[in-house]
Amino acid sequence: MTDTAKKEQTSGSGPISLDHVVIRFAGDSGDGMQLTGDRFTSASAIAGNDLATLPEYPAEIRAPQGTVAGVSAFQVHIANFDIHTPGDEPDVLVAMNPAALLSQLDRLRLGGTLILNTDSFDEKNLTKAGYSADPREDGSLDGYIVHEVPMTKLTVGAMDGIDVKKRDAERSKNFFALGIISWMYSRPTEPTLDWIDQKFGKNPAVVAANKAAYHAGHAFGETAEMLPNQYYVEAAPVAPGTYTNITGNVATAWGMIAASQLAKLPAFLGSYPITPASDILHELAKHKNFGVRTFQAEDEIAAVGSALGAAFGGHLAFTTTSGPGVALKGETIGLAMAIELPMVIIDVQRGGPSTGLPTKTEASDLMMAIYGRHGEAPIPVVAAYSPSNCFDMAIEASRIALKYRTPVMLLTDGYLANGAEPWKLPDVDSLPDISVDFATETNAVDANGEAVFYPYLRDPVTLARPWAVPGTPGLEHRVGGLEKADGTGNVSYDPENHSTMTDLRQAKVDGIAHDIPPAVIDGDGDADVLVVGWGSTHGAIVAAVNNMRAVGDKVDRVHLTHVHPFPANLGEVLSGYKHVLVPELNKGQLVRLLRAEFLVDAKPVSKMIGLPFTGGEIEAAIRAIGGATAKNDSGATA
């Protein structure tokens, strides 16, 4: 399993120091578990821990209260060292009702701690969950440390003096649970209390109720005999700087805003809501003071169409969606590619095919991103590898789009989108200048010796065509989807010209390979196995590789942020290994691209259950192909 390291370390009396711990909050959709997890995460972030989170909630519609289908869970991994996954197995499971217990128990590590809200373990809820007997009596909880807490009663009990109805009082029980865990792991209380003030300020009664519940939970931890130990997880040693806790979708939205500032162009987002991408639209819509224009279109085709229109008008244009939306945008992306205007398409991938598993994560849109258009219509494709990296990749996608006048696809996924991590804020002034010039002058002389503007006269280096926006006198021109004559851009049915233009469009995209960071090997370069990753598999791969190195095994890895075109040196890098392993949350898409391009016998590692890889799974896969050895080394260790 990942991130292993000595765990407990009794420091005399008082709280026991832990290197890391994985806590999972689970309850009914109505119990506010996502919020509880969020708060615990923020407090831990502020306490300086490194962390990673994994929110999991049911598909879009509210499932029947109390049933397994209705369970909502939030897993958070906090540590005093650099971690990369939300943890393979929780050490602590908070179960607010029987359904949560039933559906989540198998994830808890044996010997782990269980905290149950016993008030919800009545006949009705047990049956709803599908229990025939009470698990607390029939021994199904043997092997775990179980703490039974009547959270609802205790919460309601804490309310006197506050005027809230009993039903409302009960709704604060998640803060009671948060109080217990916050005490157990010695979290600072202020951040949570402050947050309650901000969030519910308008409603004093609610503020009071939630604070009371939180305090009661905290006090319960301190006083109740049943919770013997208090723990703490020290701050992780991190580079100096200001940190914030960020999810992938927010990072993406902020990256879009940053890109617009760095490009000195207003940002335009044309989008149609879809899970799990909608939050990017929501976040961006809050920041109109950055000159951002957000447009909720009538469908995905209008969304990408409006973005193309805005790009023609000289804005930095984006469209955000998920797989089903990309499947609809193909024709318009093809037009954008043909008229060579900059645009960024962001695909927050989810479980497919068709409607599939809308709230679950997957990375199965790669082939569509590269090939999902008719004709020869190459576009660059990049992918983010962590929640905070979404910020960087939104800027990078914009840089490529603007510099090469091409639509660029940015791939993220549901795990990155909703997952959170501490992010060391970049120095704003150190961010790259990605601005480009609009054409303002004629650029050629025609047969009659007149100064003219040829919209398809390319930059000799980038092969990008000039971007002349409406409002510029003298550069009036018409673009369109019919084949254009090289240079003049007039409609052309000339056979040879079509071949020339096809090659130019391809060459322009291929050329980008030399304008992106080369593939960098993490490792000594002398292992048998190279693990090639892309996207959100990064954390699990790093965890696996680190664990193996921790026990002296050898394995190298490369992580791709640019999947089309590939970095110029990738072929050379791959050629140096006996085994190339490609973990993907799909049935093997990048691996086919690598095989076709470099004729290397790269092998896929697939996972298709709507959840990210664990480090343990990747490590197992590496060991399975007899990895873990150095090149001139005999057989596998262990």
């Binding site: 169409g305 229109g309 007149e450 018409r478």
Partner: protein, 349 residues
């Protein structure tokens, strides 16, 4: 895409608005007349006091179809996009650039078949664009299949036994979608086109202009019974704002509303006071709708001119107002503070 030669540097000349591309419509196509009207309109506007319209701040966006070739022939900015998507693309452009003068051009297939949804949404939002619907009741570019405006029973390549779809009345559909400006003209009368285009151009928000256009190759004479000189007297009704609606020999006929339904009457019988007085500014679209439905029986005469011209906020402007309001309220965005808008902490020492 040359800059026009000196002769045409004078914006009051049609040539100033003409691109250097050969026009590629069939000889005799109604599209030629529409193109000429548009070029002349711009020349006329240029001659007007305080005109601000120039080649560089004018954009023609089209989809695909014969009509959609239009942008290539104007010396302005233009985009010949993909089938049906012009209103969506123009919406993005209008939101990004409320300063531009945006025209959208397409055929009945482009705008009402594949592009129907984008059209009705642009109209309901009142996005600042002037939409020209070239209605020739046929798919011209693909060589003659029936369209959403073709009459029932139409025999075409795709309907050898006759079409069975009830056609759209584009202006009724527009009224149903909440369009703020609705008008109709036809390719045989340049003056009429120029006046209607001028009104569309002056309107703030979306304006929809249906143009009866003859496809002399695949649907020749589709509108002869209405727009041919000989037919006009009895089948062509010109709407005049503030005037009772009259037509026919010496205005002997008129239009009344009979329990909400528009009907043709003999003024002699009905008397003038019974006639409907046309009010294009009526905030309620019911009357415009009733007028549009008059000809649905395919015998009654057809109304031309401006059916509706109501004021409503323009979408692109509204979005930009929100941007300004946000700036006023929060001050111009600052990246440094955005990154710190959530809870932050200092790491390391």
């Amino acid at each position: 895409m040359t800059v026009e030669s000196n002769v045409t540097l004078d914006p009051t000349q049609r040539g100033h608005w003409t691109s250097d591309q050969d026009v590629r419509w069939c000889p005799g196509c109604g599209d030629y007349g529409i193109l000429a009207a548009m070029q002349f309109l711009h020349a006329e506007l240029a001659a007007e006091e305080g005109n601000t319209i120039t080649r560089e701040n004018t954009v023609f966006v089209s989809g695909i179809g014969c009509a959609a070739r239009f942008p290539y022939y104007m010396s302005t900015y233009g985009m010949h996009s993909i089938h049906g998507r012009a209103p969506a693309i123009a919406t993005g452009l209008a939101v990004a650039r409320p300063d531009l003068n945006i025209w959208v051009v397409g055929g009945d297939g482009d705008m009402l078949s594949i592009g129907g949804n984008h059209l009705i949404h642009a109209l309901r939002r009142n996005v600042n664009m002037k939409i020209l619907l070239f209605n020739n009741q046929i798919y011209g570019l693909t060589k003659g299949q029936y369209s959403p405006t073709s009459e029932v029973g139409k025999i075409t390549k795709s309907t050898p036994m006759g079409s069975i779809d009830h056609p759209f009345s584009p202006l009724s559909l527009a009224a149903g979608a909440g369009a703020s400006f609705i008008a109709r003209t036809h390719d045989l009368d340049r003056k009429h086109m120029i006046e209607v285009f001028r009104r569309a151009n002056a309107h703030n928000g979306s304006s929809l202009v249906e143009i009866y256009q003859n496809c002399n190759v695949f649907n020749d004479g589709a509108f002869d019974q209405i727009t041919k000189r000989s037919a006009r007297e009895n089948m062509f009704i010109e709407l005049v704002h503030g005037e009772p609606i009259r037509f026919g020999p010496e205005g002997s006929k008129g239009v009344t509303l009979d329990r909400g339904v528009a009907r043709v009457v003999d003024v002699a019988d009905s008397g003038i006071d019974a006639l409907l007085v046309h009010d294009e500014t009526n905030p309620n679209p019911a009357v415009a709708f009733a007028l549009s439905e008059l000809a649905q029986d395919r015998q009654s005469p057809t109304v031309f001119g401006v059916l509706r011209a109501a004021e409503r906020q323009d979408f692109g402007q509204a979005i930009n107002d929100q941007v300004l309001a946000a700036n006023a309220a929060k001050g111009p965005g600052d990246l440094y503070s955005l990154l710190r808008s959530g809870a932050t902490w200092e790491g390391g020492e």
